[in-house]
């Protein structure tokens, strides 16, 4: 009798957790829709909102742009070297460049940029929002509910999204240039074949999936940590903080996006 009761209790706990988990995702989607509406509103780009947006944009992107590019360049060089040497040793050197472009530009760099910005910017922003929330800044009973969202949350979300996009774009361009130089050397003779390889890799479908993936990653990194700290209810049974739960949600979403992108590209 006791074991039956405990099993029922565990089952109901599991069901409640699952419901809360799905309800949390529902609140995040709702929150994202609100922010999207605010992002399309011209009033979000006027006066103090514009200044806040500019401040977050610069603070979240400029300090990390250079050394993230440097870091990805070094990692890219290592991966390019490994791929090229392996391809040559198996007599498949003509596929090396295509493989480098696929591995680096299509897969690794957008993912790395998203993870990097999530850890470097999104989580601190979420912690700040959590503090503001604790002070009741985003209290729903306030007369002007949209104003704190426009001033505090939208700039942070947009700056993080922008940061992911810019870091990914710059790193992709640098990695593509490094791959060319590594394979062909400092000569313009290989530009035609390299361009042709690029064109062959980036078919319309793959380009669309790549764009959607990068956009999805950047939006996920911008939205999910902040939405989690705002809408995840404190759970006394869990010893993790709201920021950490947000990070788990973010990684889960990144995993989903990656799987969807891989399925779209290669299946």
């Amino acid at each position: 009798m006791t074991s039956l009761v405990s099993s029922w209790s565990a089952l109901s706990d599991l069901g409640r957790s699952a419901l809360e988990w799905f309800a949390g995702w529902g609140r995040i989607i709702l929150f994202s829709a609100k922010l999207l509406v605010l992002a399309l509103s011209p009033s979000s780009y006027r006066g103090p909102n514009l200044a806040a947006l500019a401040r977050h944009l610069v603070n979240d992107t400029a300090p990390i742009l250079l050394w993230f590019t440097l870091l990805t360049s070094i990692i890219s060089l290592v991966i390019i070297h490994i791929v090229v040497v392996t391809s040559v040793s198996y007599g498949l050197s003509r596929f090396a460049l295509e493989m480098v472009v696929r591995v680096l530009v299509l897969e690794l760099i957008p993912l790395t940029a998203a993870m990097f910005v999530a850890l470097r910017c999104a989580l601190p922003n979420a912690a700040e929002i959590s503090l503001l929330n604790a002070r009741g800044v985003f209290d729903g009973t306030s007369a002007n509910y949209a104003e704190p969202l426009q001033r505090e949350i939208l700039p942070r979300v947009m700056s993080v999204t922008f940061s992911v996009l810019l870091l990914a774009a710059v790193s992709c361009v640098v990695a593509a240039a490094l791959a060319y130089v590594w394979v062909h050397g400092l000569t313009a003779g290989g530009i035609a074949s390299y361009t042709r390889t690029f064109g062959r890799v980036f078919s319309p479908a793959l380009s669309l999936i790549f764009t959607l993936k990068t956009l999805g990653l950047s939006l996920a990194v911008g939205l999910i940590p902040i939405a989690s700290v705002l809408y995840d209810r404190p759970n006394p049974r869990l010893r993790t903080s709201a920021e950490l739960r947000g990070l788990v949600r973010l990684f889960f979403m990144i995993l989903l996006i990656e799987i969807a992108s891989l399925v779209g590209n290669y299946v």
Binding site: A51, A54, R55, A62, V173, R200
Partner: protein, 319 residues
């Protein structure tokens, strides 16, 4: 009250400018990447269409290259299955590269062992008319892996045949056994002849025949030596025949001289005959003249007789 910008507003303007720079950088990167991709996909390049027909387009993918002499000159834009089950591989060839394709060009689709597929064009006669836009050509399929099952099957047959050949009850083994017994008999007193005839008596007959043939050949040899002496010896037929021929030649020369003389005589006779013909012509004129004179004399005698008193009847006595 002053209108000078405060440090806070200056900072805000600076931040906005830097943010604008970052946004501008992102926009430029996006625009440049999009333009480069469109260029790489050949959107800005005028091209003409080529359709390759094949029974099987396995391994052909959209975006793969059509190469000529190792250089990519076209790109697969689509693969269709026509109503009659033929595969249509649609290829865009840039106009600047279309000059390598001629009416007589041959297209091949080759599949390697590691799965790579290649579309190649071969133009043997570059002076032929250029390939028109939208042309449809059959593609020759060369599949290295398609040969493997047939090769394996034939190899299996070969091995089965070899096994049958080398088994203990096979024809080859029996033949080898016979060969061994034959070689044993070759080593015997009759040697290979005993193997050929199967028994010693027949082999002995052949030996006797050979001996008699040798003796016959020796006699024929002596006969030939004598005949040679008779024909070609110092007193043989040949020297006499040669002397007779020399004499015959001398006689022929003399006959030729005689004939020449006869020819000359005949020429003279011909001239005499000509003169005689001319003389007989003159003789006729002379006779006519004599006839005329005789008539005149006759007429004169008739006149004299008429006038003469002792005329006698007119009678002329010709000598």
């Amino acid at each position: 009250m002053s209108n000078e910008p405060t440090p806070g507003s200056r900072t805000s303007e600076s931040l906005e400018f830097r943010a604008a720079l970052l946004v501008g950088l992102l926009v430029v990167l996006f625009a440049a990447s999009a333009a480069y991709l469109l260029y790489a996909r050949g959107v800005f390049e005028p091209s003409q269409r080529l359709v390759l027909l094949s029974d099987d387009a396995e391994g052909v993918t959209v975006g793969m290259d059509l190469t000529f002499a190792g250089f990519p000159i076209g790109r697969v834009r689509g693969i269709e299955l026509s109503a009659d089950g033929t595969t249509r591989i649609i290829i865009d060839v840039p106009r600047k590269d279309a000059r390598w394709l001629r009416e007589s060009s041959v297209f091949t689709l080759t599949r390697g062992l590691v799965g790579n597929t290649n579309l190649r064009a071969f133009s043997g006669v570059l002076s032929d008319p250029p390939l028109p836009a939208g042309a449809e050509r059959r593609v020759l399929v060369g599949d290295a892996t398609a040969e493997i099952p047939r090769l394996v099957s034939e190899t299996r047959d070969l091995i089965r045949n070899l096994t049958q050949l080398t088994s203990t009850d096979s024809a080859l083994a029996a033949t080898l056994g016979n060969l061994q017994s034959a070689s044993e008999r070759i080593k015997g007193p009759r040697g290979a002849l005993g193997v050929l005839f199967g028994n010693d008596a027949d082999a002995q007959k052949l030996v006797v025949t050979l001996d008699r043939t040798n003796a016959l050949l020796a006699r024929i040899d002596g006969l030939a030596a004598k005949a040679d002496q008779q024909v070609f010896g110092a007193e043989g037929l040949m020297p006499e025949a040669r002397a007779a021929i020399v004499q015959l030649n001398a006689a022929l020369l003399e006959a030729r001289e005689s004939l020449k003389k006869i020819d000359a005589i005949l020429v003279d006779a011909q001239a005499i005959a000509g003169n005689a013909r001319a003389a007989s012509t003159d003789l006729a004129a002379l006779r006519a003249e004599i006839d005329a004179n005789l008539r005149k004399v006759s007429g004169m005698m008739d006149e004299v007789n008429r006038r003469w008193p002792f005329a006698k009847p007119a009678e002329i006595k010709l000598p």
